[in-house]
Subunit: 786 residues, 2 copies
C-alpha cells in the first residue's frame, strides 16, 4: 500500500523530492501540465524511466471496433480512444557518452515542483554518472495558457565536475506506445500504431513531423525549434518517419552551463490539408521563438495572476488542505483553459484513463467551477457541445426520440458507451448539459451566448424529455426505465435527480425561448410547445416515501432490500469488482450521491428538514466507490450542519489524487473530483447556492478552518467573500449593485465597498449520520494508510 | 418472400420435388436426420451445391473468447460454439469423368422424402450429364436410433443410358467451414479451423480420422466402411490430414447398377485417449457392417414403431396440420432420442443457430413432450443437467448465491451468455429444470431417478431461490431485479412466472427431500431447511392489479406505459431489431407469452375467470417475436374457449419451420417450437393438465378437426385418448388403474377396457381477444405470404 502524501506541503505549489520507481506513474499524473489543448504528463525530460509517456492533444483519437458478445439495436459500432500525440517533451542527455539515467550512477538530489502561480513544472537534478562526472540538470516546462499550440522547455545542464562532454538530444517521438486501455485485442490493435507518416521538414535547429491517424483520419503536425545559449560546438537536426532529433554537443568546464530552450508547436485537424497543418504549426512556433522563453513565462504568469485574482480560495488553519484546494483549482483550469471548442475529458489531458472520454461530470462538476472562475473556458466547453448537436440529433432519431440525445461518453460527440444500462439510458447527461447552460447564462449574463448557443441546446434537450416520458392517467409525467447518476442502480422509474434535472431543463428552455423569441421560432419552437414544456415540468413525478418521510432516489427505491453491509468485507470494495451488477441494482446500495446530488443542485425543491432527513437516509447506503461522491456529500453535510463530516468529505475529495485514495491516479487525475473540491469549499463551507432563486451565501467556518476566502466572477464582475470569526465580508469589484441573500436575508452589494454581515449561530444539527460499515471517511482513509 | 409450404403433403412423411437454389438451406434444415448424438443436415450426397454442410456431434464445440466493450464482474470469459464434426455423409460421383452436379447438365427429376416411420431421408434423382449420359441416383440415409454412434447411407447408381464410366468418391471431410455465427472476428477466428489432425488409419474399403479441437481439447474420431455390390472394377482408399476418400470405379451398361452402402461411426470425448477413441469408433462401425444396411433399417423401423405406438397424434380434418404435427414430433424425438447425458440444443442438431446452445426451452417446451412420449430420452437430458451441477454450484458461488445457478445458454454446462440482463438474471431456468424433474417423476413414477438425480437438482435450485429473494417487513417473499421468460422485459421485481416456478421448485424440493430422507441428509438438508422452503413457497409474492383485476406479469407491470402499436409499422418487427432494449423493457409490450405461460404451467394458481381475464389482457400486448409464444397462446386460448384462436396459434406453431414463418429456418429447426406443437394439441385441444393436482383432460374438437387421438406414456403404461363427436375415449394399456379427471370429475381408468365419457357443451367464451395491430395469427401469416 502506498503511503499518504509524499508531496511537499506549500501553499502555492506541490513538490516531490527524491525518486522511487514505484511512484513514477503517480508523479507523471500529478505533475501534468496542460492548457486544455495540449497535455504533457510530468514525465522525466530524458524519457526514461517512464510509465506512461503521455503527450495528448484534446480531440485527437483513433477509432476502434466495439466488441459485443451479443449485439443489440443502437449499440455503437465504433469506439474512440485517445492516442499519444507525437511527443515533443523528450530531451535526452549524454554525459561523457554515458546516458543520463537516474536509475544508473548516483542520484545526488532530485526535485520536481509544480508551481500554481508560474504555471510551470520545475525540475532540479544533481547526478553523478557511473564513470564519475557530476552534472546538474535544471528544466522548466510550460504548456502555454496564452498560446494554445505551444509548449516549451527551458533546459540547462551545468557541469559540476569537468571538463565533461555533453550531448543534448532533443526529440519529437511519434508512435509512443499506449498502455493497454482495453482488455480486448481487437480494440487495442488499431491503437498500437495509429499513425501513418505524411511529411517531415528539417532545418538545422528544428523539425516538423506530420502524421495522420489511420482510421479517424486526423492530421497532426508537431514542430520543434531550439534556442541555444552557452557554448555549443555543434547543432544538427535529423528526422525519420516517426522521430525528429536535434543534437547539440558541447564540452563544459566545471561550473559552465549550456542552455537549450525548446519550443514545441502542435496542430491537429480532421479537415485541414497536410500543408495547412504544417504551415500553422510552424507559424505558431515562430511566434514562440520570437517571444522567447522569458516572454512565454511572463505571459503565463500574467494569465495565472488574473485567474487567481478572482478565483483564489484561501483556507487558513490547514496548510495541506490549502495546498490541495489550490492544486485542484489549478488542474481544473489546466483541463479547460484553452480547450476551445473541445470537450473536457474525465481525466483532462493527464492520462489515458477512461480512454480520454468526456462524461456528464464535465458539465456537473467541472463547469460550475469554470463558470464562476474562468467563464470563457466554460463557454468554450458548452460551445463544443453545441457543435455536436447534429450528432446528438441523429442519436435521438436512432433511439426514436425527439430533439437531441447527447452521448454518455465520447471524444468526438458520438456515443462510445458499450454498456447501455449505464450509458445510453443515463439520459440525465442531457439535463446536465442544459443545467450548465442555464447556470452559465445566469452567472455571466451573456445573452449573446444564450441566444446563439444555449437556446438550441435547451430546446433540443427539452424536446428529448417530452418524447422520453409520458403522462399517466392521473396527469403525472413519468420518465421510466432510465438510469440516474448512481452507477449501482439502473433502469429505474422516475429517478428524482433526473426528473428534477429534466424539470429545470424544460423550464430553462421555456424561459430562454421566451427571451429569444425570434431565434426560438427559427428553431421551430411554437408557443404551444413552450406551454407544453411548462405543463410537463409542473407535472413531473417526484417519488416520496410517505411512511419513511423521505424522498426516494427513484420510484420504489426505499422499499428495496438493503445491501448486507455487515457481510461485506473491506476487500470487497469497490463492490462492482466483486458483485454482479444485477445484485447491486436491485438493492439499496449507492456507489455515489444521487438523491443527495439532487439535494445540492436542485436545493430549491427541498425544505431544510427534507434535506436533513434525506441526507441521513442516503448516508447509510452510500459506499463512495465513485470519486464523484465525496464532494457532494461534503456540500450537503455542511448545509445540514454536519460540519465535522463536511470537512472529512472535503478532505477526502481534496486528496483523492494527491494521496491516491483509489489506487488509480497512474491513469490520470480525476478532474471532476478536483472540480468538486472547489464546490465543497465554496458551496459547502461557503454556503453558496445558485439557482432559479438567485445567489445565496450561508458561510460557516468549521475547525480546523479559521478563515475562508474565495472569489467568483459574476456578471463580468468579481465578488470576493471573506469569512473569519462570525463575520462574512462581501466585496464586489465594480459595476452595478448585486443582489444576493445572506442566510436568507436579501442584501444588495455595491461595488468597491465591503459589506460585512454577521453569521448567525448554527442550529443543532442532531446526531451525526452513519455510513455503511467501514465506509466512513476516516475508515476509508485508515484502510488506505495500512 | 418465399411462398408458403413447398412440401408435398402426406401424413407420414414430408417430401420436396424439384430443386431451387434459394431453398437449399431450408431443405437442409427440414430434412435433417439426427439421433440426438449425431446430426446430419439434409445436404445433397455429393456435397455441392450446399449452403451449410452441417454434420454435428452433440457436445462437440470449440471455445472462443467472449468480447465485451465494457467488462463486468461475473461476465463469462469463454464462449462455446458448435463446430462441424468431420463430415462422413459426402459421396461424390463422376459420370463419364464429369462431376455429378445438379446445377449442370439436365436435372430430369429430383425428390427428397423424409419418412417419419422409417426414420430415413430418401433421395431419387434422374440426371443427364452435359455430355449426355443419363443416370439415376437413389440414396437412403439414416442416423441410427438404436446405434447412437452410427449413420449410414445406402447409395445406388443406375445407368439409364450406357455404357457409362462411374466413379464413386465416398469421403470424410474435416474442417468444413462454419458459417459466420458471430459478427466478431475474434470469436470466429478459432471457429474457422478448430481441429488439429491427430491420427488416420486407412484400409482398402474404409478409413478412420482422429482430430482434436485446438482449444476445448475434445477428441473426435470418425470412421467409414463400405459394402459394395454390383460390379465394381476397383476400390481403394486414401487419407490425408483432413480428408479420407474411398474411390469405387465401375463401368455400367444401360440398366445396370452399383450399390455402395456406407457406414459412418462417430465418437468424441474430452477425456478418452486418441487410441481409445479410434478403437471405439472402429468397433461401432464393425457392428454396423455386421448388421448390414437392412439390419440397421429394420432396427430403425422397429424403434420408431414402438415410439409411434404410444406417441402418435392423429388429427382428422386437416391433412397439412396432421403432417406438421407428426413432423414436429419426429424432429423432437430426433433431437433427443440418443443424446445420452448431453443437452438438447435450441436447434437440436439441425443447424448452427444459437451457436449450438441449449436454453430453458429444452426443459420447458421439449422435455414435457419427451417425458410423455419417450421418457428415457427425457431422463437422459435431466441426467445431463445433473452432471453439470458442480459447474452450476460454482456459478452460484461466483454470484454470491447458495445452491446451484444453471446457465442461461451453454453447451458444456458453463454460462455462455454475453448479455446478462437476458442471461445471468433469467434465473427461472433453474425452476424450469426443477419443474421438468418433478413432472418427469410424476409422469414416470421413477423413484430411483428422483433419488439419484432429481433430488439433488431440486435441493440445489431450492437453495438458490432462498438466497436470491428476501422476506419483506410484511412477511412476503420477493425476488427482485431478475428477468422472466419475456425478452422484451428485464430486471423486474416479482415476475409472476418466476415466482410461481420458484414456489413449485421449493415445494417439489420439500416433497422429494421428505420422500428420500436419507439421501437428502447426505445432501446436507435438515428438517428446518425443508420447513423454510415451504414457508417461503407459501409467502411468495404474486403481484395482482386490483384495479384492472388482472395478474401482473411483474410488480407494477400493468402500470407501465403501453407500447404504441398503432405507430409501429409491419417492417419494424421483430421489434428488437428496430428499437433499443431500454424502450422495450420499460413499456407494456411482450415478445412472448410470460404471464400466459404461467397460466398454462401453473394453472392450479389461477381460477378460470382469472385465466380468461389475464389471457385477454396480455393478448393485446403480445407481438410473438419469439417462436416460443404461439403454442402457449394456443393452449390457453383453447382452455378459455377461444377455440378458433387456438387453432390459428396451433397452425402458426406447427408451420413456423415448414413455412419458414420467421425467415430463419436456414440456421436450423426451432426444436422448442416443435415441442410446443405437441403441447398445443395435447394440452390445448386435448385439454390435458398435469401438475400437483394430478392428471386432467378436457378435450374439445374444433373445426376443422373432426377427430383427435393422442397417446402418453404414464407410469410405464400407455394411455390413448381418442376424441370424436362429443365423446372422449380413454384406453389404458396395462397395469394398475389410473386416476384422472375428465372435465373436473374424478375417473379411474382400468387397463384394457376403453372408458368413454361425454364432452360437456362449451360455455360461451365471450368476445375474441385482440392482438396488437398487425400481429394476429392471420395477419402474421398474410404478411409472410406477400
Amino acid at each position: 500500500m502506498p503511503e499518504i502524501s509524499p508531496f511537499d506541503v506549500s501553499p502555492w505549489g506541490i513538490g516531490w523530492s527524491g525518486w522511487e520507481p514505484s511512484r513514477q506513474a503517480r508523479r507523471e499524473s500529478v505533475f501534468s501540465l496542460s492548457n486544455g489543448h495540449i497535455g504533457w504528463r510530468g514525465t522525466l525530460d530524458e524519457g526514461d524511466p517512464c510509465e506512461t509517456p503521455g503527450a495528448y492533444l484534446n480531440g485527437l483519437f483513433e477509432h476502434h471496433p466495439m466488441p459485443y458478445a451479443e449485439d443489440g439495436y443502437g449499440y455503437p459500432e465504433h469506439g474512440e480512444t485517445v492516442v499519444n500525440a507525437p511527443d515533443g517533451k523528450i530531451i535526452r542527455l549524454l554525459v561523457d557518452d554515458e546516458p543520463f539515467d537516474i536509475r544508473e550512477g548516483r542520484l545526488e538530489s532530485h526535485e520536481q515542483q509544480l508551481d500554481f502561480r508560474a504555471g510551470t513544472l520545475r525540475r532540479d537534478v544533481r547526478w553523478t554518472s557511473p564513470s564519475g562526472a557530476t552534472v546538474r540538470v535544471e528544466s522548466v516546462r510550460l504548456v502555454s495558457l496564452t498560446h494554445r499550440a505551444i509548449a516549451a522547455i527551458d533546459y540547462r545542464v551545468t557541469a559540476l565536475s569537468g571538463p565533461i562532454d555533453i550531448t543534448v538530444l532533443s526529440e519529437i517521438v511519434a508512435d509512443e506506445p499506449l498502455p493497454d486501455v482495453h482488455p480486448d485485442e481487437r480494440v487495442m490493435e488499431p491503437l498500437r500504431h495509429p499513425y501513418e507518416p505524411i511529411d517531415r521538414v528539417v532545418t538545422k535547429t528544428g523539425a516538423t513531423l506530420v502524421h495522420r491517424t489511420k482510421r479517424s483520419r486526423i492530421g497532426v503536425a508537431v514542430a520543434m525549434e531550439h534556442a541555444i545559449s552557452g557554448a555549443a560546438s555543434s547543432v544538427e537536426t535529423e528526422a525519420w518517419e516517426d522521430e525528429a532529433r536535434t543534437t547539440v554537443t558541447t564540452r563544459l568546464a566545471a561550473g559552465d552551463s549550456i542552455r537549450v530552450v525548446k519550443f514545441v508547436g502542435h496542430e491537429w485537424s480532421d479537415d485541414l490539408t497536410d500543408a495547412a497543418l504544417r504551415d500553422r504549426v510552424e507559424a505558431a512556433v515562430a511566434t514562440a521563438v520570437r517571444l522567447g522563453w522569458e516572454g512565454m513565462a511572463r505571459e503565463q504568469r500574467a494569465y495565472l495572476d488574473d485567474f487567481w485574482d478572482a478565483a483564489d480560495v484561501e483556507l487558513e488553519g490547514d496548510t495541506q488542505l490549502q495546498q490541495a484546494v489550490r492544486f485542484a483549482l489549478f488542474q481544473v483550469l489546466q483541463s479547460a483553459a484553452r480547450a476551445d471548442l473541445r470537450s473536457i475529458p474525465g481525466k483532462g489531458l493527464t492520462g489515458p484513463g477512461y480512454e480520454g472520454h468526456t462524461f456528464w461530470d464535465a458539465e456537473t462538476f467541472v463547469l460550475p467551477v469554470l463558470t464562476y472562475t474562468a467563464p470563457e473556458a466554460a463557454a468554450h466547453a458548452l460551445r463544443w457541445r453545441h457543435s455536436t448537436l447534429d450528432t446528438a440529433r441523429e442519436r435521438a432519431q436512432q433511439l426514436h426520440l425527439d430533439g437531441a440525445a447527447f452521448p454518455w461518453r465520447t471524444i468526438s460527440g458520438r456515443e462510445c458507451s458499450g454498456y447501455w444500462p449505464a450509458g445510453t439510458v443515463a439520459f440525465h447527461i442531457n439535463a446536465d448539459i442544459a443545467a450548465a447552460v442555464t447556470r452559465h447564462v445566469r452567472a455571466t449574463g451573456d445573452e449573446e451566448f444564450e441566444r446563439d448557443v444555449g437556446l438550441e441546446i435547451l430546446v433540443e434537450t427539452a424536446r428529448l424529455w417530452v418524447s422520453l416520458g409520458y403522462v399517466d392517467a392521473g396527469g403525472v409525467f413519468h420518465i421510466d426505465g432510465i438510469t440516474g447518476p448512481d452507477e449501482y442502480s439502473a433502469l429505474v422509474d422516475d429517478n428524482t435527480f433526473t426528473n428534477l434535472a429534466a424539470q429545470r431543463n424544460l423550464r430553462g428552455a421555456a424561459d430562454a425561448a421566451r427571451r429569444h423569441n425570434a431565434r426560438a421560432r427559427e428553431l421551430g419552437v411554437r408557443d404551444d410547445e413552450i406551454g407544453r414544456w411548462e405543463i410537463i415540468a409542473d407535472a413531473i413525478a417526484l417519488p416520496y416515501d410517505e411512511e419513511r418521510r423521505v424522498h426516494q432516489q427513484a420510484a420504489g427505491y426505499t422499499d428495496l432490500e438493503r445491501w448486507d453491509f455487515e457481510a461485506t468485507s473491506p476487500e470487497q470494495y469497490p463492490l462492482q469488482n466483486h458483485f454482479p451488477y444485477f445484485d447491486l441494482y436491485r438493492k439499496q446500495v449507492l456507489k455515489q450521491a444521487d438523491l443527495v446530488l439532487a439535494l445540492q443542485l436542485f436545493h430549491e425543491a427541498f425544505t431544510t428538514e427534507e434535506t436533513a432527513r434525506a441526507f441521513a437516509y442516503y448516508e447509510e447506503l452510500t459506499v463512495r466507490d465513485s470519486s464523484l461522491s465525496a464532494s457532494t456529500q461534503s456540500v450537503v453535510a455542511a448545509w445540514v450542519g454536519q460540519s465535522e463530516l463536511a470537512i472529512e468529505y472535503l478532505t477526502e475529495a481534496a486528496t483523492i489524487d494527491l494521496d491516491d485514495l483509489r489506487d488509480d491516479v497512474d491513469d490520470g487525475l480525476h478532474i471532476a473530483a478536483l472540480g468538486g473540491v472547489w464546490t465543497a469549499v465554496v458551496s459547502g463551507l461557503g454556503g453558496m447556492k445558485d439557482g432559479p432563486n438567485g445567489l445565496e451565501f450561508c458561510p460557516r467556518l468549521t475547525a480546523p478552518i479559521t478563515r475562508l476566502a474565495f472569489g467568483i466572477r459574476i456578471g463580468g464582475r468579481m465578488l470576493r467573500v471573506d469569512v473569519s470569526g462570525d463575520t462574512a465580508s462581501y466585496t464586489l469589484s465594480e459595476g452595478a449593485p448585486l443582489p444576493i441573500r445572506h442566510f436568507g436575508a436579501a442584501v444588495e452589494l455595491r461595488a468597491g465597498k465591503p459589506t460585512r454581515l454577521p453569521i448567525p449561530p448554527a442550529p443543532d444539527p442532531g446526531p451525526r449520520p452513519s455510513q455503511p460499515k467501514g465506509r466512513s471517511p476516516q475508515e476509508v482513509r485508515a484502510a488506505k494508510g495500512d
